[in-house]
């Protein structure tokens, strides 16, 4: 079952590559949150109840509901245009993300570790690099935040792989990522929106040598 969810998750990454609109991005993030909820639920069923509740709350409440709503709000407030404005055509993005997935697949062959399921590794690393890819190839600040959220999702998947043994790590990661991503990035996108009128990365290129 987790495998199915993880594969769906990977498909969402591909979709991310070809999505035109920011709203679609938000939707994908919501879907990913829900998927993560599922995976976490199945995977971490054995750990203690408090931790489990915490993880589940984080995924469903924060990742699937709060953040998408917040992003929506930011977009409306700053009147950010709906287009994602990638540097590269979506077609190329699709190819590259596919390549990322394939590469991680090949790479995962090197693992001969019975305790860690390869699929977690593949999906997590693909997610990580897709997130980085999104950051690098998109124009807007808000897409950077979205890319960062995608990376966080990848990290979450990765932490699930050891979640059974070290729930502390999972919790820690989640806690601080919530803090960093939502609180800080949110505030800054707001501020930048206030100060710069158009949350476009183009305006943030004055600090250079």
């Amino acid at each position: 079952m987790t495998n199915v969810l993880l594969i769906i998750f990977t498909i969402s990454l591909l979709y991310l590559g070809i999505a035109h609109r920011l709203l679609t991005y938000i939707k994908i993030l919501t879907i990913q949150g829900v998927l993560l909820f599922g995976i976490a639920f199945i995977e971490l069923i054995e750990i203690n109840a408090v931790n489990l509740t915490f993880v589940l709350l984080e995924t469903i409440v924060i990742k699937a509901i709060a953040i998408p709503l917040f992003l929506n709000y930011v977009m409306k407030r700053n009147r950010i245009t709906r287009d994602a404005e990638p540097f590269l055509p979506n077609f190329v993005s699709l190819i590259l993300i596919t390549l990322i997935v394939i590469t991680t697949f090949i790479l995962s062959n090197a693992i001969n570790d019975a305790r860690i399921s390869k699929i977690y590794f593949v999906v997590a690393i693909s997610t990580l690099f897709t997130g980085l890819y999104i950051i690098v190839t998109r124009h807007k600040l808000i897409t950077h935040v979205m890319g960062y959220l995608v990376i966080e999702n990848g990290v979450f998947i990765l932490s699930l792989a050891v979640g059974n043994e070290m729930p502390v790590l999972v919790n820690l990661g989640i806690l601080l990522d919530i803090f960093a991503s939502v609180f800080l990035l949110g505030i800054f996108v707001n501020r930048i929106g206030d100060v710069l009128k158009d949350a476009d990365v183009d305006q943030l290129k004055s600090l250079k040598d």
Binding site: L107, L132, V136, R138, V201, K205, S206, D209
Partner: protein, 666 residues
């Protein structure tokens, strides 16, 4: 009194002075600085003289320094250089007191200057005493830094800044070479002590390590092609600093080379030949450049390069002597070099001091703007004249003595077996003679242009003779110069004892100086004295003869032209123009002018300027440095302000490491 305590004083006194000077009233700073310079000189001269007498002094500051003990050692070689340093520094400080009066308004700057002068002297002294590689490098760098800051005194001037930074960077490169050499020694011998270098030389091939040391010290000494800091830094510094720098700092490069030479155990011939060739080329290059430059201090700086060539020639001869086991050649070469080191420090500081006097009175270093100063500053003119004669190696002054020793060495070396060394020697002989000829041309030109004739351009103020305080040290220097010129045997015996203490018996160290040589030297002294008297005698006779004759004065004979102007005089540039033209493959003249076109019926006033560029700087280094800096432009995309790129670097790095690992590259 224990000598190590004296040495400790050499550390404490300057530091105390450096702390005190900024806090005492302005008028006393220069004087206090001079007093401390004298004090330090005193406490170091005592051990130095003892060491020259054979009592070497060892001193060990037990220190928890990471590098082990700070060992200091005063042997004869150090002593010789310590004496030279002290002599030049005292003269420099004394002269500087008078010279710096013109900058009295810049109080902070002056105070810094005198503080640095103390550091400068102390660091030079410590360079001569340090026996541990790391400590040596530290004091060596301190010396470079303090001299660099002293050069920067006139920092409002843009060229001064450039020259200073150039100097700093080149000194740093020198230190890198030295550091590499010491590290190599440490790597193989496990110690940074100088004795480890000796051990290294006795077990390894000598050539490459010596090359490293030679390059490092050679930058300081100003061997071509590593000389380019010298003609820039010397003119930029205040004159007494140029005097001390040229008189001593470059000599410490020579000191280093001497140190290493005395550690050598094999490869004498190869190293000696390389040193000889390089030195002759250095001498020729230096003097040829000196002959064409119109900036008086730049001329002197190039002339320093020439003299380094002569000293290097002596060292090379000594090495060849060690290689062939010819004790006499060893002694002639090394004593010639050591004595010329002293001589050059004397006449070069004298010349720089007079140049400073000229600059102080006229505010220009451009010889072509001067002229006829002998009428206004007769004493300075005589100083310069004496300096010029001495530096040209003309008897009865000291330059001749050391050059004679080197000539004698070459003549001895000619007899060595093998066509290669024969030819090398005869070429050095011709080179040295040629250097002498060009230096005659250079100094007649400089003296003639600056002091003789009539003033070539109006000066901001009427020049007058400089203060007594500035003249006194120059008299003192001339006195010592004459003593070397007239009593060469004494100085020879001192330097000879230094050499015999260092050269191992296997390499011709056990030599006895033949009677012919001592005879020659005493003859030189004797006949120099006669030569000093003979013109006086003739002049006296002439006076007697012409007393009753009618003497008239009139204008200079203008060859029929009756309205000559000062601007029509032969200039320094035209004086050396023919030489410059002949040597134009090396003396790169840069002219700036606009031709008159055929249709210009009434051409407007126009200018013609020309100056000479340093061959190595223009043809080699500028291009390299420009290309290096230009290539930096290709990497300016890195910090481009795009945050996506910044993230991309991380991805790239990780991916590259992945790939590298997968492909077994890392």
């Amino acid at each position: 009194m224990n000598e190590s305590i004296l040495l400790l004083f050499a550390l404490l006194v300057p530091v105390a002075g450096m702390i005190t000077i900024p806090f005492i009233p302005h008028p006393f700073r220069a004087r206090l600085s001079f007093i401390i310079v004298c004090l330090v000189a005193m406490v170091t001269t005592v051990p130095a003289i003892k060491a020259l007498g054979g009592e070497e002094i060892d001193s060990l500051f037990d220190n928890s320094l990471l590098a082990g003990n700070w060992s200091f050692h005063v042997d004869r070689l150090s002593a010789w250089f310590i004496l030279i340093i002290n002599l030049t520094c005292i003269n420099g400080a004394f002269y500087g007191m008078g010279y710096m009066k013109q900058y009295d308004a810049q109080r902070a700057n002056l105070s810094l200057h005198w503080v640095l002068f103390l550091l400068f002297q102390a660091s030079m002294l410590w360079v001569c005493m340090a026996q541990n590689g790391l400590v040596f490098l530290i004091v060596w760098e301190l010396m470079s830094i303090s001299s660099f800051l002293l050069v920067l005194f006139d920092h409002q001037n843009k060229t001064t800044l450039q020259a200073g930074i150039n100097y700093l960077v080149q000194m740093h490169i020198g230190v890198l070479f030295l550091a590499a050499a010491f590290i190599w020694v440490y790597y193989s011998e496990g110690s940074l002590e100088f004795s480890a270098i000796e051990r290294f030389f006795s077990t390894h091939s000598n050539f490459w390590l010596f090359l490293l040391f030679f390059t490092g010290f050679g930058i300081k000494a100003g061997f071509i092609p590593l000389h380019s800091w010298l003609p820039q830094a010397h003119p930029a510094a205040p004159s007494h600093i140029s005097g001390v720098m040229s008189g001593v700092i470059v000599k410490l490069g020579i000191y280093g080379i001497f140190r290493m030479v005395f550690f050598l155990k094999q490869d004498y011939i190869l190293i000696g030949e390389i040193v000889v060739i390089l030195s002759v080329l250095t001498g020729l290059y230096g003097i040829l450049n000196a002959s064409v430059h119109r900036d008086i201090k730049k001329m002197l700086a190039y002339c320093t390069i020439e003299n380094i060539g002569i000293i290097g020639l002596g060292i090379g001869l000594g090495l060849l002597g060690m290689g062939s086991g010819n004790g006499l050649l060893v002694v002639l070469g090394f004593t010639g070099a050591l004595l010329h080191t002293l001589n050059h420090s004397l006449f070069k500081s004298l010349l720089f001091f007079t140049a400073g006097a000229v600059y102080q009175q006229t505010h220009t270093r451009d010889m072509e703007k001067l002229g006829g100063l002998i009428h206004r500053m007769p004493q300075s003119a005589v100083f310069f004249l004496v300096g010029a004669m001495a530096i040209g190696g003309l008897p009865p002054f000291n330059g001749f003595v050391s050059e004679f020793l080197i000539y004698a060495g070459i003549l001895l070396g000619i007899k060595s077996i093998g066509i290669a060394s024969n030819t090398l020697m005869i070429s050095s002989l011709a080179g040295l003679a040629f250097i002498g000829g060009v230096s005659l041309l250079t100094f007649t030109k400089s003296f003639g242009t600056v002091f003789l004739g009539t003033p070539r351009s109006p000066l901001p103020q009427e020049p007058k003779e400089v203060s007594r305080g500035m003249r006194l040290p120059q008299y003192f220097i001339i006195l010592i110069m004459l003593s070397v010129g007239l009593l060469p045997s004494f100085y020879f015996s001192v330097t000879g004892s230094i050499v015999s203490a260092f050269v191992p018996a296997t390499a011709g160290g056990s030599f006895s100086v033949p009677a012919a040589l001592t005879n020659s030297l005493s003859s030189i002294g004797k006949f120099s004295l006669i030569f000093l008297a003979l013109p006086v005698l003739i002049y006296f006779i002439r006076k007697r003869f012409t007393r009753r004759h009618r003497v008239a004065t009139g204008p200079t004979w203008g060859c029929g032209y009756t309205a000559p102007t000062a601007g029509m005089q032969y200039t320094g540039k035209s004086f050396s123009k023919s030489l410059g033209k002949l040597m134009n493959f090396m003396l790169l003249e840069k002219k700036k002018y606009r031709e008159i076109r055929t249709n210009e019926v009434f051409p407007p006033e126009r200018k013609y300027t020309s100056h000479y560029n340093d061959f190595f700087v223009t043809r080699v280094f500028d291009g390299l440095v420009d290309r290096l800096l230009y290539s930096m432009n290709y990497f300016q995309f890195i910090q481009n302000g795009k945050i996506q790129m910044y993230i991309l670097y991380g991805i790239f790095f990780i991916v590259l490491v992945f790939l590298g690992t997968a492909l077994k590259l890392i």
